[in-house]
């Protein structure tokens, strides 16, 4: 280890007790060694007192704006938690499986091959397709279409102005 290395360790407080005592002694006895130490100590103080740089005033604002823009650009696919999708998917799979199992358990396998369908009477549609109910339904549809068309035109107008 060179003298300078020993002195830097001494200045940094990184030397052992024995080394520290030996350097203390040298500092008293050896003038050249003492001069070297004072030189390094002065440099050490100067570096420690050095000023650090200052970024522009808008630095934080720019960083936060970039983060906001970055976050806004993120596609919906990334923003959705995949665990939620898995839970919903699992719920449907379990429901379908349970339904299938219930059907399979309730099938009477020994029954005859001819299937007797239950008696089912089709509802009377004529009364529904005429009269006040149909008029009301059509009116509601027209209002809904007009409302959606208005919303579409507004959106288009905003996009044009932007």
């Amino acid at each position: 280890m060179s003298i300078e290395e020993k002195l830097w360790d001494y200045i940094d407080g990184a030397c052992s007790v024995e080394e520290h005592e030996a350097i203390d002694l040298l500092l008293v006895q050896d003038e050249a060694f003492r001069q070297k130490y004072l030189e390094l100590l002065a440099l050490n103080r100067e570096i420690a007192a050095m000023e650090i740089e200052e970024p522009s005033m808008a630095f934080t604002y720019k960083v936060m704006e970039n983060i906001r823009a970055d976050y806004a650009k993120k596609p919906l696919k990334v923003a959705i938690d995949s665990r939620i999708i898995k839970v919903i998917g699992g719920f449907f799979v379990l429901t379908i499986a349970a339904l299938l199992l219930f059907i399979l358990v309730n099938i009477n396998w020994s029954a005859s091959t001819t299937v007797a369908l239950p008696a089912f009477k089709m509802p009377e549609m004529k009364s529904l397709l005429s009269g006040e109910v149909l008029k009301g339904f059509l009116f509601f549809d027209v209002v809904l279409v007009l409302f959606l068309f208005d919303a579409f035109l507004r959106k288009k107008g905003i996009a044009k102005h932007a």
Binding site: M50, E53, P55, V63, M64, I67
Partner: protein, 193 residues
Amino acid sequence: MQSKLSDIALIVKTLAGDQSAYADLVKRHQRFVFTLAMRFTKNREDAEEVAQDCFIKAYRSLASFKQESKFSTWLYSIVYTTAMTSLRKKRVDTTSIDDEDTYIQIANTSSGYDVNNAENRSRSFYLNQAIAQLTPDDAIIITLFYKGEQSLEEIAQTLGIEANSVKVKLFRARQRLKEKLERNLKHEVNELI
């Protein structure tokens, strides 16, 4: 009283969706991150770009910060890798990034404008000039050790090397800084005579 919150408390708030907490974190560390970036880029515009990039990267990876080290140590390692990548991208010639002459040349071109005011220059000006002439590795180690409140072990973690290597590199960096400082001062004295 958010400014008094610790880095960890601000990180927790940021992860809970409070972006203003991250803005406080940026304000707290921006000067040092910018200084580290300056050690690499040697000009303010590029340094600001690199520093911004670092904070954005840190925000994206904040959830992966394990809190095993100080936030500053983790952040400085991002600065180091980002600045190194940026420096490599910008280099058009094939000289090594540790080539000292390259940095002496860069530093001299930026500091040549005020030769006439030599008598007004303070010792700190010469120190900054000498640091600018060092290689990024030397300048970074000195800056982290003296201004970043980082131990040798933390610097080792930031740079991805052994603590003993940091000690050796720090010694060499200080030696080179001393030489450059002496050379610059000698040059100025000769100019005045």
